[in-house]
Symmetry: C2
Subunit: 127 residues, 2 copies
DNA sequence: GCTTGCCTTGACGCCGACGACAAGGTTTAG
DNA sequence: CTAAACCTTGTCGTCGGCGTCAAGGCAAGC
């Protein structure tokens, strides 16, 4: 399987796959002409990467999951390192959610205040 | 008031104030030697900007609020344009919160699955 | 042989809100 | 006279995950 095919099957681009490789996440054999050649296992790896990135992981966060797959596990989640990252990411997400909740609350307050102010101004202008 | 003083009183840096000016948010008189001179009103403007940026607004989002202050209002929130932005931002925040909730749910599922898998492996290894 | 369509490496662009540094002018204190 | 502590404009760097050329090689059909 060449890079174009892998990219299409993984729903991404050749550029992206080379990028992952440059960062040590994806591996490829080389054919005599220098083309990258991938096997089916790499497809799973790439899909794992994509799934995690979609969820907000960074490339570094993904590494343990890839290593876990490479170690022969059916899921990238089951290794200790992956679990550590999972816990950390969940905590991060919780923190952001809390933060955004507070922000939402504040913005809602500002909006309410602004509307109330407009009522007042409107009433005065009608007098 | 020179730029250094305004920066300190607003809790930011001179660089940042020049940046805001370059983007049309902050205005300054010039003393004969070319130094920027600010009045108290600009301090309020800068504080408004900072408060909104802290909450996740972009510079463009902030513009209506600054204009509203410049129009003589006691709050930057009370003008129609500001209210539009407020509503939009609240909607954006809500969307992100929803999204993150789903992400959190998924990650929690992966974590649970991983732990369960480890239990199984552990039991097998004990046999 | 020529075109088409793959592939290769390399390097710049992007977005946003600045930080950091360069090279210089000004004012004040000692 | 000089050092210190301001100020000026201008330019490059940051972070991440790529997109987008550029310039060239290789394979295959006509």
């Amino acid at each position: 399987m060449l890079i174009g095919e892998l990219a299409e099957r993984a729903g991404t681009s050749p550029r992206t796959l080379r990028y992952y490789e440059a960062h040590g996440l994806v591996r490829a054999q080389r054919s005599p002409n220098g083309y990258r050649i991938y096997d089916e296992a790499e497809l799973r790896v790439v899909r794992e990467i994509r799934a995690l990135l979609d969820v907000g992981f960074g490339l570094d966060d993904v590494r343990p999951f890839v290593a876990c797959l490479r170690a022969g596990n059916s899921s990238g989640d089951v290794c200790p390192d992956s679990v550590v990252v999972l816990r950390r990411k969940i905590a991060e997400v919780d923190a952001v959610i809390d933060r955004l909740g507070a922000v939402r609350h504040q913005l809602h307050g500002q909006l309410t205040h602004a509307i109330a102010h407009r009522e007042k101004t409107c009433l005065r202008s009608r007098k």
